[in-house]
């Protein structure tokens, strides 16, 4: 009986741990998975975590100085093959919209942006009907 009690206790502890882990967002894994998905010829620059913290955050934002004459690529990775409703939108320093990955209602998993104006840009991730609100992204460049 003692052995049965031990096994049941152990299994229940493991189960709780597993459920907790499954419920948590692990954006590092998605961000790392995105790096090799950058198109050929692009050099990796940064990986970004996109964690909506279970719905408490409606956007995640980073910034980067893009330079004229350089082409950048930003891609998205989430659970499954699609972007799970995660949208990346690029704003210039004056907060004018420059690019988005949601075009005519279609969720696109990568943006290619040949920069024509040097400046600070904001890379904003939002959740549009996203189930997991959890993903990752990578930024690359080429000349």
């Amino acid at each position: 009986m003692k052995k049965v009690l031990f096994v049941l206790t152990f299994i229940s502890l493991i189960s709780v741990g597993t459920i907790e882990l499954n419920g948590q967002c692990n954006p590092d894994n998605f961000a790392n998975a995105c790096i090799p998905k950058l198109a050929s010829g692009f050099n990796f620059l940064k990986s970004y975590k996109v964690d909506g913290e279970g719905g408490s955050k409606d956007k995640v934002e980073y910034s980067y100085v893009f330079t004229k004459g350089t082409q950048y690529m930003i891609n998205l990775c989430a659970n499954g093959a699609a972007t799970d409703g995660i949208v990346v939108t690029l704003f210039d320093s004056g907060r004018n919209k420059v690019a988005t990955s949601k075009i005519n209602g279609q969720f696109i998993s990568a943006i290619a942006y040949p920069c024509n104006a040097t400046g600070i840009y904001y890379i904003q991730y939002t959740f549009d009907g996203s189930a997991g609100k959890c993903g990752g992204s990578a930024l690359g460049f080429k000349r």
Binding site: K2, K3, L5, F6, T9, F10, L13, I35, A39, N43, F44, L45, K46, S47, Y62, S63, Y64, V65, F66, T67, K68, G69, T70, M73, L90, D92, S93, G94, N96, V98, A99, T100, S101, I103, Q106, I108, S109, A110, I111, A112, Y113, P114, C115, N116, A117, T118, G119, I120, F141, K142, R143
Partner: protein, 297 residues
């Protein structure tokens, strides 16, 4: 019942054991520079730090514009023994990082291996050597077919170092690392521009660094209570004075987009014009050279 207790104890020990890395204490104890904390939230500092572009972008530009490799414009790896304080180690870790990126882009593996050794030594000295995978990088560097992997892993290693320093509330070292890397990239660009005075693209590349320098001055201003950082800030403010003569005009025009092979391809209709003269470039080159000499000496 004893078995249940042992089970709980084992789980408790396993959970506690993973919370602290063994060399974290040594790392925190080793810091000798900028012990005064920043005057602003470190999250703000991290958000500014992540904006600074990779020096690799400059090296790619130089190579693709046909500029020949020149090891003479880099900081020699033999200077390593001069860097004894953590202030100098962090700055020159950035300098050598840029030099490594430059040698990698030009596929100069023998030179690259010298920088690798210096980088590993400086990183070990700052107790962040665990993030620099010298064995893998060294192996990749021996074959030019591995260039993409080599660039990827070195970028990832430097990103990990920066991330770690910022999560350890020691973003001051991350600031120095990035400034060292930026100054070295500026130095390389200015040296190349000096030999090609009519190259408008290079002049503009130098001029647009005004945007990055403004962020660097802002970052350093948070640490001005530290003597070393204050001195560096003074130098950077002088350099900013030279950049203040440069006009960058931005014109926004809505971009257009189309989907090509599953990728949203943007046509950027906005423009920047950078007004910079040969005299401006010369003034910037002289000041950059002076700051860089202080850093590497």
């Amino acid at each position: 019942m004893r078995l249940v207790a042992i089970g709980f104890m084992a789980l408790f020990i396993a959970a506690c054991g993973s919370s602290k890395k063994p060399d974290e204490k040594a790392f925190l104890e080793s810091l000798d520079s900028a012990k005064t904390g920043p005057t602003i939230d470190e999250e703000v500092i991290s958000s500014i730090l992540q904006q600074i572009p990779s020096p690799l972008e400059i090296s790619v530009l130089l190579k693709e514009s046909g500029t020949k490799y020149n090891a003479g414009i880099l900081n020699t790896s033999e200077n390593l023994s001069k860097y004894n304080s953590n202030y100098k180690k962090a700055l020159n870790l950035g300098v050598y990082g840029t030099d490594l990126g430059y040698t990698n882009i030009y596929e100069q593996n023998q030179d690259g291996l010298k920088y690798l050794t210096s980088i590993k030594s400086l990183a070990d000295g700052l107790n962040i050597g665990q993030f620099f995978d010298i064995e893998t990088i060294g192996r990749l560097a021996t074959n030019s077919k591995n260039l993409d992997s080599l660039l990827l892993i070195t970028t990832q290693n430097f990103n990990s170092i920066n991330h770690y320093l910022q999560t350890q509330s020691r973003a001051n070292l991350s600031v120095l690392l990035l400034i060292g890397g930026w100054v070295e990239a500026m130095q390389i660009t200015c040296q190349v521009a000096a030999k090609d005075a009519k190259n408008k693209e290079l002049q503009e590349k130098i001029g647009e660094q005004k945007i990055i320098l403004e962020q660097i001055v802002l970052l350093l201003s948070f640490y001005k209570d530290d003597g070393n950082m204050a001195s560096l800030l003074k130098d950077m403010e002088e350099l900013k004075g030279a950049f203040d003569k440069i006009n960058i005009t931005y014109t926004y025009k809505e971009s257009t987009m189309e989907i090509v092979d599953g990728v949203a391809v943007i046509k950027d209709n906005s423009t920047t014009t950078i007004n910079i003269t040969e005299q401006d470039v010369e003034a910037i080159r002289a000041l950059t050279n002076s700051i860089r000499n202080k850093i590497i000496s």
